[in-house]
Amino acid sequence: MRNLPGIFVAGAAATAILATSGVLADQSNLPSIDGVELKTRAEAPKDHPLPEIISGFEFRTKETQALELDDFTNPGFLLVESGEETWSTAEGSAGKSCESCHGDAAESMKGVRAAMPKWNEAAGRPFTLENQINECRTEQMGADAWKWESDDMLAMTAYVGLQSRGMPVDVDIEAGDMMSWWEKGKDFYYTRFGQLDLACANCHEANYGNYIRADRLSQGQSNGFPTYRLKWQKMGSLHRRFKGCMDNIRAEAFKRGSDEFVALETYLAWRGEGLSVETPAVRN
């Protein structure tokens, strides 16, 4: 992005702003996948920073939405299937697979993604799904940790995440010391970074629905991750998206899995409470 922040002043919103708002009036029109309804708009509780909580789904064209609404056309399912295979494949010195302890993922993993990040008492910090999977691998299976953005990790987070699809995002920020991570994430959200001197809030709170050159800004919700992006032509993690945003505003991006990004993920999950988990979503 070569333009100056001045573009926000001229930020153009499409007629679609009115078209999508129409969904509000008719909640019976919820998008659904194989009968599972997706709540793509949620009422914001009092004192929430947004007037209404809206999934990134609503900011995309009907063609992109159609890819997500059919599990066969959704290319994210190539990785979901590989995650399903890995689930029952034994690995590591303990000779165990995920299935050895957790059984049927459809049962045991239901709701897991919706509650992430989750306070981990032993570690004394919030765990993202990636953190939890790697802890299982190193502590229970005696296997090597996966890299954050590896196909193996994306496949497993997508497969586990899918088991919560349609369930509302609901994180427990009262547990342990979650509040201090939430605070840290909130500070991050409103702090300007980089040569373009932008905070998350400048685009995703003050200008969602508007266009930044040709891209339509969403609220930057995290309910669809890991997500298949048309631009990437593959699945990617939430932290990859964070890094992409930071690169664009010409900031030095934090590392995937860093405390900064885990704090931001914690705060963002809270901002999106009530939206359905859409993993694996399809975005532009």
């Binding site: 992005m1 333009n3 573009i7 001229a10 930020g11 153009a12 919103a13 499409a14 007629t15 702003i17 009115l18 708002s21 509000l24 009036a25 995309r60 064209t61 063609e63 992109t64 159609a66 890819l67 685009c203 629905g209 508007n210 266009y211 930044i212 050159r213 040709a214 891209d215 800004l217 992006r229 048309l230 631009k231 990437w232 032509q233 998206r241 992409g244 945003c245 690169d247 664009n248 532009n284």
Partner: protein, 150 residues
Amino acid sequence: MTITRRQVFALGAGVAAVALTGLPRVTFAEEDKVQAAIDAFSGGATPETANVSLTAPEIAENGNTVPISFAVDSPMSDDDHITEVTLLAAGNPSPDVATFHFTPMSGAAEATTRMRLAKTQDVIALAKTSTGKVYMDRKTVKVTIGGCGG
């Protein structure tokens, strides 16, 4: 619902943005390459603009993955069926996208795929019948060059 002041402003700006993107998009050199590809397919005959319908988004959200479909009217009988359909992209580094080969056992001369478009340009579908006729359809797809795709 009520329209906020911000939305009214935003709508006005949206119209301006649409006006700005309506720029010419195919150079003469590209048109030559496409014409050569059309001639190669049709054997020099001028394709008739009929019977083929090409479906593509008016605006693609990302040029890396653009859904595209076509359907050709044909009895698909042994005597009269579509043998080949080729897709061309006028503004790509190379215009060829894909060539589909049909038989009477295909039942219908239609297909859907996803393609890459380097920029805003025309997508062309050419169809050949077993009786030697060539049909064509052409659609412009706007490809938005991202401000901030991440």
